[in-house]
Symmetry: C2
Subunit: 105 residues, 2 copies
DNA sequence: CGTATCCATAAGTTTGGACTTATGAATAGA
DNA sequence: TCTATTCATAAGTCCAAACTTATGGATACG
């Protein structure tokens, strides 16, 4: 019953997904994110606002800058949904297990 | 490197996600899916076409009907992306593990 | 055969949302 | 204080895409 809708919507856009990936790689601020993204600074701010509403990122003000970091609980609705949608496929579970083994040997 | 884009796009729409959920729950045909979805039959067909392009469903013709079933490998790009995006959070991995344990005791 | 059902495609409409530029608030530093 | 950064918001534009109705092809069935 976790509302996965905002999360799916937020991650549907490639640019916004790129923003999230960079934030997830380590805390950064808006100006740093704007570099190399081929969109304007307001666009980045808007994407960050969407990600924040979806619960995927948190913010932290420091001086003139706003630092963003990924919220570890943000992807949980996605996992829950996959568990529900794929609950009928034991095969899926095996794949997930293998992936986790690769990630965490 | 798996193109997760079509998958994320396909699952972003609530109606299409509902279609996929019902297909994932068991093989069905278009007319059965149309019932209770509050959209027209062509809309359902279009959603199914999108899901098929994204690799999330397969089709099987039988008489006048077209039966759809979920492709077990369809969600893999999603899992891979999550692994990459969340690779920096060991905490995330633990949650996934707990979930899998609940799913597969 | 003729008809009804099932589905996909075509064509057109409409709305959400991903951008842009413009601007102002807040802070740092000279 | 004055100026330069940093960021968020406002307002407007534009396009993708989620619908609709219309239609035709294919199959079942009398």
């Amino acid at each position: 019953m976790t509302h996965a809708d905002p999360v799916f919507r937020a991650l549907a856009d490639p640019t916004r997904r790129a923003v999230f990936e960079r934030v997830a790689a380590g805390e950064t601020h808006v100006a740093a994110l704007t570099v190399g993204l081929s969109v304007s600074q307001p666009a980045v701010s808007q994407h960050l606002a969407t990600l924040k509403t979806a619960g995927l990122v948190c913010e932290r003000r420091e001086g003139r800058r706003t630092y963003y970091r990924a919220d570890p609980a943000g992807l949980e609705p996605l996992v829950d949904w996959m568990a529900r949608a794929g609950a009928f496929w034991p095969e899926r579970v095996d794949r997930l297990k293998k992936l986790l083994e690769r990630m965490d040997p």
